[in-house]
Each structure stands twice: as C-alpha cells, then as structure tokens.
C-alpha cells in the first residue's frame, strides 16, 4: 500500500491580478489543516506566493501543484509562457523583466526568484524560452516535530 499523500492542483491565470494569491492562500490553508509547523508553512506560503506571482506577471497560464506526504512538502509551479532567457540573471536580486503594468502595481521588484531560493530547502528550475517554466520547490520538516 502506498503511503498517504495529499495532491492538490490549482490553476493560475496569467495577468489576472484579482485572483493572484489565491493559490498560495489555498496551499497555506491546506498545510494548516495538516498541522504542519507554522514556521515551515510561512516559508512554503511565501515561496508559493512568489511563484504564483511569477506566473501571473510573466506567463499566459499555469498551475500550482501541492504534494504533501511523510517525507515533506513539494510545490510545483508550472507555466506556459515566455520562459526565462537567462536564469542566472533572474536569480539576481533586483533584476526584473516585469511589465510596466505589473511594476505600477508594486510587483516586479526583482525579488521573486531570490526570495523563493531563500525560502526553499531544495529548488529546481527548468525553463525553455517561448515554451514555459517549471519550478519545483521542496521543503523538509523540522527535525523536532
């Protein structure tokens, strides 16, 4: 018998700033129901929110997939969009290619990916220009809980 796990898939719409953040909120509420350590929930929430905003700001559409099991928490953020031409540059704090509209709303400060890296225990980014981006964020449980 396979170990119990939670699998949650939430669609994310590109350029829709009204629904932006709902996926991260849902991920957060789900983790609260599972009784995950609150400091870990905070890290997952912030990383998921940044990844969700990256989809909203830069991609056409995408999804957030949450997976939780005894081993840890994994959040996948996958999108169809323009991809990241220079990943190293995108990982640099302050660098951003966000549209003027997004910047006018206070987004696109160039802290998205650096912030995600800071919050995750393991980060994999797979991107292809004009195809899309797949970000896998892994989190491990604190040892004393």
């Amino acid at each position: 018998m396979s170990q119990p796990r939670v699998l949650l898939e939430i669609p994310v719409e590109g350029n829709n700033f009204t629904t932006a953040g709902e996926a991260a909120s849902r991920v957060k509420r789900t983790l609260q129901k599972l009784g995950i350590d609150s400091a870990l929930i905070r890290r997952v929430s912030i990383a998921t929110y940044e990844a969700e905003m990256n989809i909203v700001i830069h991609a056409e559409y995408g999804k957030i997939v949450l997976q939780v099991d005894a081993g840890g928490v994994t959040v996948l953020a996958e999108d169809r969009g323009k991809g990241i031409p220079d990943l190293n540059q995108a990982m640099t704090a302050g660098f951003s290619t966000a549209s003027d509209r997004a910047r006018a709303m206070g987004f696109g400060a160039g802290m998205g990916l650096p912030n995600i890296k800071k919050c995750t225990d393991q980060l994999e980014i797979d991107t292809q220009v004009n195809v899309g981006t797949k970000v896998v964020m892994k989190f491990t449980y604190p040892t004393t809980s």
Binding site: Q3, P4, R5, V6, L8, G21, A24, S25, K28, T30, Q32, K33, L34, G35, I36, S38, A39, I41, R42, S45, I46, Y49, E50, V68, D69, A70, N115
Partner: protein, 451 residues
C-alpha cells in the same frame, strides 16, 4: 494553554437556531445543532462579532456587575478611553465625576496609561531598529487581545511579530497598584480594581492574565444608563483629569499610531479586515511597513460590542476630544512618570507571557491521519453544492465537510444532499409501486396494462 474562561457565552433560551452568527465568526467557531447555536471554545477569540449580529441577543458577555463593587472597601474604576465617546459631547471631567457618584472612590484613567504605553511602544520600536534590523517586520501591536487570539488561531506564523508591550488596560492596573495603592494604606484585598470595558475580548484577557491586577470588568453598556442619568439630571462638579488627547485618541483606530508616531505604520480595524491584512502579511505581500495597529472592532475600541454609541459617531467624538485636549505632544508629566517607572523596572511595560500557537485548525495530530482526513474532506466537499448556505448549521460547505470527517456532522445535514436522496427514494418508491403482481390482473411488463 486553554483559556480558563471565555467571556462570550450562549444564552440557549434566547437562541432560535437562525444560523446568522455562524457566518459572521472570523474563526468559524460557532455551529448550530438541534436548533441551538454553540461555541467551539477552543476556537473562540471573544471578539464579540456574534454579540453584534444576534438579533435575539442570545450571545452575551459574562462580567462583573455593580453588586460586585460592594465586596470591597475602596473601589477603583479604570475607564477605557472609549467611555468618553458615549455621552454626546460630555467632557471626560464630567464623566469621571459621574463614575465617582455611581460607587467608585477613585478613577485611574486608562487613557492616561495609554500615554505611558505610547512611550513604551515608541521605545520598543526604536530599540528594535538598532538591535535587529532584519527583525520580524512589520511589528504588530499587542493592544487588541482579540487580534492576538486571532493570530494564535489562524495566523500562528505571525506570533513572533507581536510586540511584548502590555495593552493600556493592563498598564493602567499596574500603574494604579504601583503609583497609588501604597499611598492609600488599605490592604490590597480590600481594594477592588474594575476595568470599564468596551469589549468582551479584554474581559477574557483579564480573566486569564490579569487576575492579580484587576478584580473585575464592567461593560460600558452596563454602566451607561447610570452615568447618563447623572450627566443629564445632576449638576456634576467637573473633576480634574490627567489624560491628554493622545491617550483619549487611543479609543479610535489610528489613535495608537498617531501617538507613537513612527513613519511607516498602518492601522486596520474590523476583524474581517484584520484577517485579510494578516493573510497578505503571511504570504509576504507587505513590504516597507514597520508597525501595524490592528483592532478587531470597527473604527477601533469605540466600536466595541459592549459600547452604546454608534462607532462612527463615537469615532468623530474622540477625534474632536483629542484635538481639544492636545494630541500633538505628550505632556511632561507622562514623560517624567514613564522615565521613573522604567528606571525602577526596565520591564515595567512589557510582559514575558508566551503567546502559543493553538494549532486548532489541524485535522489530526498525526500527519498521515491528517492527510487521510484531508483527502476524505476534499472528496466530501466535491459532493456538496458549495453555496455556503449555512442551513446545515456549519458556516461553509468546507466546514461541513470537515465536521463530517471529524464525526460531528453527517452528509444528510446538507439540505441539498437530503433533497437529492429524497428524490432518489421517491423515484424508487414510484418504480416499486408500478410493479404489480400477476394476481392483480395483468403481467408485470413495465408501463403497460389497463383495467
């Protein structure tokens, strides 16, 4: 630790089971079962939203009353600044005079203590800037106990943001005991200290953490009639009072921030607004904000569930009074007393009470059981209409699904599911009724036959 006693309780005789309250509760702490609402106490934050919404007045706050005063030789009132906004333009010096007439020997203003608190918060923020610039920003005020409880229940990851500076009603009691009691020559047990409160959350907070400081809390709406009568009918001699506009201003949303005076502070009021803001904060959306004043009641403490005056009218009144009594700079007396008090004890204004993560939202202590329950919950939710009508007695379809998983509700509590099942049953009954035995005169071919 579970709270020893909540101030918000049900009056089951008055409850008609209408479900209005269940949707108003910010922590989904109310259910209706067998025609009566009941409160899941481990989730209740005593904000008083249910007291406000209930048309039948079936929710009430348990408090002391004027009879309690008789147990003491010397009675002290600690009036919340919001009391000053209740009497259509009457001045604090008259309201304090009225308090003396209804049975208090002394009045120690919470508005005055709020000015000392203002100094303490300002200093805490300045120290924080120097010690840990990365700190848990933004810092969050501890002044509203309903907000503190909301963090424990719904936003535990934000608990480190709470500053440990005591709210003014605690500081008022501490100051009275430190500054005034030694001069009275009356033993502590013969002195009754009573906080005059605008809300149930502060009653609960005092019941649990302030029992050594305060002997009871009296709701503003309980004293309103008596005070109002005196103000209208009697010629009261105004008594001198100590608070300035800064302390009085604490009664409205934004008053605390205006007194503390740090640049990038924001004030939010109304428990649902507070929850929305904290949600954004938890997702890391708020930047460049140093301090948040968050108050559970609309317009701040003037909107407390135990007040009488309309919150908007009361807020305007407070702003007017604050202007009249000076809300630009703290009086010298305050600054001197503040300096004296922290010289005697550096931690006079702060507490070391641990604010715990309540974790009441989790489905199970065991992760794999919680996962199984969550998957069941989602499967049940998929069958429910997601109209959140509340007719089942749970506030939302999601909470009904959770209640089913936890064994305190069943699927047929949903009136839509019940109706579907009735339709199926009726169809089956009809199908059975149409099958007639051969002895009745025809074969049992479906849909055929006649006389």
């Amino acid at each position: 630790m579970e709270l020893r006693s909540h101030s918000v309780v049900m009056d089951a005789d008055k409850c008609i089971g209408c479900t209005n309250c269940i949707k108003q509760c910010p922590t989904e702490a109310i259910r209706v079962r067998s025609g009566k609402a009941f409160i899941l106490t481990e989730r209740c934050i005593d904000c008083g939203e249910c007291i406000r919404i209930c048309k039948n007045h079936a929710k009430k706050a348990v408090s002391a009353d004027l009879e309690t005063l008789k147990q003491y030789e010397y009675r002290v009132a600690l009036p919340a600044p919001s009391l000053y906004a209740q009497f259509k333009g009457e001045k604090p010096e008259k309201i304090i005079a009225a308090l003396s007439q209804i049975g208090f020997d002394e009045v120690y203003e919470v508005a005055f203590a709020a000015e000392l608190t203002t100094c303490a918060i300002h200093d805490y923020i300045m120290n924080q800037r120097q010690t840990d610039s990365a700190g848990p920003y933004p810092l969050i005020s501890s002044s509203c106990p309903a907000v503190t409880r909301l963090l424990q229940i719904r936003f535990p990851s934000l608990i480190p943001h709470l500053i440990p500076v005591d709210p003014p009603y605690i500081t008022a009691a501490k100051c009275f005991l430190q500054e005034r009691l030694p001069r009275l020559n009356i033993p502590r047990e013969k002195v009754g200290v009573f906080f005059i409160t605008p809300c149930p959350a502060k009653i609960t907070d005092l019941n649990n953490y302030g029992q050594h400081l305060v002997d009871g809390a009296l709701p503003i709406n309980l004293l309103f009639g008596g005070i109002n009568h005196l103000l209208v009918e009697k010629e009261l001699t105004a008594v001198p009072h100590r608070s300035s506009g800064i302390g009085i201003g604490w009664a409205r949303a934004g008053g605390e921030n205006s007194g503390v005076g740090v640049g990038s502070a924001l004030a939010v009021d109304g428990i649902q607004n507070v929850a929305i803001l904290l949600e954004e904060l938890e997702l890391g959306k708020l930047h460049d904000i140093e301090y948040i004043e968050a108050l559970a009641c609309p317009q701040g403490c003037v909107g407390g569930a135990l007040t009488v005056e309309n919150p908007f009218v009361a807020r305007a009144m407070i702003q007017k009074l604050a202007g009249q009594y000076g809300d630009k700079t703290l009086p010298n007396e305050v600054q001197t007393l503040y300096a004296e008090l922290i010289k005697e004890s550096a931690r006079f204004f702060t507490h070391d009470k641990v604010v715990h993560d309540k974790s009441v939202l989790r489905l199970d202590r065991d992760l794999s059981k919680a996962i199984t329950k969550l998957n069941r919950l989602e499967a049940i939710l998929a069958k429910l209409p997601e109209m959140d009508c509340g007719a089942c007695g749970s506030p939302t379809c999601r909470s009904l699904a959770e209640d089913i998983v936890q064994g305190i509700a069943q699927l047929t509590d949903c009136i839509f599911i019940l109706r579907e099942q009735l339709v199926e049953l009726a169809q089956r009954l009809l199908a059975l009724a149409q099958i007639r035995p051969p002895a009745m005169g025809w074969n049992n071919e479906k849909g055929e036959g006649g006389e």
